[in-house]
């Protein structure tokens, strides 16, 4: 092996492995970088490669380290780490072209592992560039005498020719819906809503710019303050953390008096959880999932791939007007003995409400409510919301920690600074203390409209938590205490509700308009990429091909079509390449001389088929003495150019010029 292909291989591996540095254990990254550097030094200095026993020691130590780090050598994370480490080690025994080919194949494999973590457009472009480098190196291995430029040309040609064929395969290759075997649990470690809520969990999420899902409304979109995307419902409280408890999938919920239907389709990013998001309250869904008794939509399996579904929700409803005693009891449970001040406050409200006469129906004071509240329970709810609104509560992303066991008391009476999870949690505790069934609902609220793509983007920063109370005669009613403190959060967005100094995701606040446009444009492109490239599965394939006019798509038909189209394209390439191969360069001298003959033929002196140039010239000279000098000169020039030993460009050009000037 000469030096240049080794350097090219080192660079290739560096490029494919670099994006992994983000999630590899730092010591693995450092070890691999050190190995590559060592190899580069050995190549540069011409020193011999390390001995086998040393490599064995490093390999065993590395594998041991990975085993300690991940507790396994298999699975996605550990597997990728091991693959990269072994690749770097393979360099230390790179001696011949065969070893180099192993490294090329490993590089291709590492490219694929990158797609576990990101399949965005920039990743795709970066990997394409890397692939070009890999293929150029590959060509280098089999043609070490070739200079860089022709090598790049060969590699680029191969890659460019493969692209249309790849497109055909991508569209027509019969898709099988995975997974074929079980996915490891760590296959998708994405951030997103959890099924637990404790102080700080949602505010952390609010710093993430990642897209949770995108929504297209097929009818008139609802008002912003109605866009409550329902996620996990949390029933149980242990004093600090809210958890869902046992969900009942088998009992169907009951909706009554529904109105204002909204049809929409959601493209949900994979979040490795079972729930789907829908507006309050969903009643129809295009994919198989359960609507639970507490109005969650749950799938059987965690969501591993981007999913698109159509849904219908009603913005006006009465949900579970008749609630079972068990559910009511669940919705009243509080950790005994905790938060005495909150309990006392709630009971004071309750007493006050019972003492006062029942007020007249009035528009809901809570923004989240969808019916006017009446009766004692309603009075207590309003008292609580008014309390949040009146007292000196602050809406902030950086609430002070609540270390004590009476976290609700600390928040309500001391710090009074919190994010939505603080307000929703303490509101539900207050309600339960006042003997009103209540629970926490988490999900997303709002979204950003992308007018380029005509859809709404809901990001992780739109994560939200609110409360639901059960009122007799009204069923479960949504109450959003955050709306009482920071109405802007619900009516506009998070940035509007926070003071200017709060840390927010990049561009969430007041980026210049062009930057916002750019961002929306980019998201529209990404969305299309997600829908059509990344989301291209068997379903979409069937739909797409039916639209193209293929009737009842079967995989046999697909395979047949694929083979046919591929064959056609390859044949076209073959024809083009081979035609190019035997196409002879027309002889410039010959064609120019033929011009002379044509000119003379027009003048009545055509060349006889058997005549050579000089004979012809003599005959012309005899017939037209005025042309004698010119034609003899041209004929002799032609002879020396065509049959002479060397042909130089200058005399050829002079000959052409003389022919142009020749007018018989």
């Amino acid at each position: 092996m000469t030096k240049p292909p080794i350097y090219a291989l080192l660079l290739s591996i560096l490029m494919v492995a670099a994006p992994h540095a983000e999630h590899l254990p730092p010591w693995v990254s450092a070890l691999c970088a050190a190995l590559l550097l060592w190899r580069a030094y050995l190549t540069h200095s011409g020193n011999p490669l390390p001995r086998r026993w040393l490599l064995t020691v490093i390999t065993i130590a590395g594998a041991g380290g990975i085993l300690i780090e991940f507790h396994t050598l298999f699975g996605r994370e550990a597997g990728v780490t091991l693959l990269i480490l072994l690749t770097a080690l393979k360099f230390m025994e790179l001696r011949n072209v065969r070893d180099a080919m192993v490294l090329i194949y490993l590089a291709c494999f590492i490219v694929i592992t990158n797609f576990f973590y990101s399949q965005s457009i920039p990743t795709a472009l970066y990997m394409l560039a890397t692939l070009l480098l890999i293929v150029t190196t590959w060509v280098h291995l089999h043609g070490q005498s070739i200079a860089f430029k022709p090598r790049l040309l060969v590699a680029g040609t191969l890659l460019l020719q493969a692209i249309p064929l790849t497109l055909v395969l991508f569209v027509l290759f019969p898709r099988v819906q995975g997974p074929l075997w079980g996915l490891p649990q760590d296959a998708f470690a994405t951030s997103g809503l959890d099924d637990k809520m404790s102080p700080g969990s949602l505010s952390r999420l609010s710093l993430s710019d990642e897209v949770a899902f995108r929504v297209v409304y097929n009818s008139q979109p609802p008002r912003r303050d109605q866009m409550y995307w329902r996620g996990p419902v949390l029933w149980n409280f242990d004093g600090r953390t809210w958890t869902p408890g046992r969900t009942m999938r088998t009992v169907a919920p009951q909706f009554a008096d529904t109105a204002q239907p909204i049809d929409y389709s959601v493209t949900l990013e994979p979040h490795n959880k079972t729930w789907l998001f829908a507006l309050d309250m969903p009643d129809r869904l295009s994919v198989a999932a359960d609507l639970t008794y507490d109005f969650q939509i749950l799938r059987k399996e965690p969501l591993k791939a981007r999913l698109r579904y159509e849904a219908r929700s009603h913005l006006v409803y009465h949900a579970n007007l008749l609630e079972s005693e068990r559910q009511i009891q669940r919705a009243l449970q509080l950790p005994p003995g905790l938060n005495p001040r909150a309990q006392e406050l709630a009971q004071r409200w309750r007493a006050a409400a019972e003492a006062a006469p029942s007020p007249q129906p009035s528009p809901a004071s809570g923004r989240g409510g969808n019916r006017p509240l009446m009766g004692t329970d309603e009075t207590v709810v309003r008292a609580a919301l008014a309390h949040f609104n009146r007292e000196n509560f602050h809406y902030t992303l950086e609430p002070p920690p609540l270390p004590g066991s009476n976290s609700i008391d600390e928040f309500l009476f001391e710090t009074r600074r919190g994010f939505c999870e603080h307000y929703a949690g303490s509101f539900v505790v207050l309600m339960r203390a006042a003997h009103i069934p209540a629970r926490v609902v988490t999900g997303y609220q709002g979204g950003e409209y992308n007018d380029i793509g005509g859809y709404y983007i809901v990001r992780q920063s739109d994560a939200h938590a609110w409360a639901e109370v059960w009122l007799s005669g009204q069923g479960w009613v949504r109450i959003d205490p955050t709306a009482a403190i920071a109405p802007a959060r619900v009516e506009r967005n998070l940035a509007a509700a926070l003071p200017d100094t709060a840390a927010l995701p990049f561009m969430a606040r007041s980026a210049p308009q062009w930057l916002r446009d750019l961002r929306l444009n980019w998201d529209a492109v990404s969305n299309r990429w997600n829908q059509w490239v990344l989301g291209y599965n068997s379903e979409l394939q069937f739909a797409f091909l039916s639209r193209l006019g293929m009737e009842d798509v079967t995989w046999q038909k697909l395979a047949l079509n694929m083979t046919f189209v591929l064959g056609l394209v390859i044949a076209a390439f073959a024809l083009f390449m081979l035609r190019h191969l035997i196409k002879r360069q027309p002889d410039k001298v010959q064609t120019t001389w033929l011009k002379v003959c044509r000119k003379l033929a027009k003048a009545g002196l055509p060349r006889a088929a058997h005549e050579g140039a000089l004979d012809y010239a003599e005959r012309v000279a005899a017939a037209r003495p005025g042309l004698a000098g010119d034609i003899r000169d041209l004929a002799s020039r032609y002879n020396s150019l065509r049959y002479g030993v060397e042909r130089d460009e200058l005399s050829l050009r002079a000959f052409c010029k003389a022919v142009r000037a020749f007018h018989p």
Partner: protein, 318 residues
């Protein structure tokens, strides 16, 4: 039975036939099969595809398809690297036994694309790699060790290429009617027999080794002990010590007079005689059991003598 069928199949497929003139590598002459690396890639691609399906990796599909299609296209490229190449057998200068014969082959690439990494391979495993630039003729010397006097024919050569990715082995068989004359290996040292004066005058003994007459340039076949190493050390190039001998003498180099008992030994001895006699500017003739060659001198005469010696006892046409 099976072997016979196989032979017939191979005969039909590869058409073993000796070519003369220019051979154009048409489609019929080019064969192509995946290499071991190609099969390894196919295996890797199947693994990748399973991974893509399992993990729903759309871009994984794209990469897998891209690699597969590049491999397919590389087959076309490998084929194109050979297709329509024009090959003509060139000369092969005579060599002495033990030297390396160089068979010249002329490759003409008529197309506009350069061809890279063409390899000529002999059945004995020897290879020569070369590139053929676009629209150019180039001459490639294929070396073959001459181990036996007489005619040396390279037999069937394989021209193959694995460019650009090493995934496919495209090859063609070249069997030209080319041959190279191999002279017998000259004996290390042999004292020339005494010259015969044409008029029958008394014989004179051959001039001894100590009658140093000067230096001349080295010619292939000169004995090592005669090389003037001191002159070589003074960087005057390879020169050979010449020893005095009367000019104008006629010398008969007689097969029977060679001291060795066996034929090859005698031929080696005579070869040395011819070289020495020519080097000393003598007129010499050959006397062989199958006829004699009248005395003469000069390069053509020397070559004719060596040719007689090379082919002595062999079928000349072979």
């Amino acid at each position: 039975m099976l072997a016979a069928l196989r032979l017939r199949f191979n005969t039909w497929l590869f058409r073993p036939k000796i070519d003369s003139g220019t051979v154009v590598l048409t489609q019929r002459r080019i064969f192509i099969l995946p290499t071991r690396q190609g099969l390894a890639l196919a295996f890797l691609l199947v693994l990748m595809l399973l991974g893509d399906i399992n993990y729903n990796l759309s871009l994984g599909y794209v990469l897998t398809f891209l690699l597969a299609m590049m491999a397919v296209m590389s087959m076309l490229h490998a084929f194109r690297n050979l297709a329509h190449l024009e090959i003509r057998a060139g000369r092969a200068d005579a060599v002495f036994c033990g030297e390396t014969a160089r068979f010249m082959l002329h490759f003409r690439n008529p197309g506009a694309m350069p061809r890279y990494q063409l390899v000529l391979r002999h059945e004995n495993g020897g290879t020569v790699a070369f590139d053929a630039p676009a629209r150019q003729d180039n001459e490639v010397a294929f070396p073959l060790l001459a181990t036996q006097r007489g005619w040396l024919a390279p037999g069937r050569l394989t021209l193959y290429t694995e460019f650009p990715l090493g995934l496919f082995h495209a090859w063609s068989y070249l069997h030209f009617d080319m041959r190279c004359l191999v002279y017998p290996r000259p004996a290390d040292e042999a004292t020339l027999p005494s010259g015969d004066a044409p008029d029958g005058a008394g014989k004179r003994s051959v001039v001894g080794d100590d009658d140093f007459a000067g230096l001349r340039g080295y010619v292939a076949g000169d004995a090592l002990p005669r090389i003037a190493w001191k002159a070589y050390a003074r960087e005057r190039g390879l020169q050979v010590k010449q020893f005095a001998m009367q000019v104008g003498e006629e010398l008969w180099l007689d097969f029977a007079a060679a001291p060795e008992p066996d034929i090859e030994g005698k031929l080696a001895h005579m070869t040395r005689w011819v070289l020495d006699a020519e080097a000393q500017g003598l007129r010499y003739g050959l006397k062989l059991p199958n006829g004699e060659l009248p005395p003469g001198d000069g390069q053509p005469h020397r070559d004719e003598c060596l040719r007689r010696l090379a082919l002595f006892g062999l079928d000349e046409t072979r």
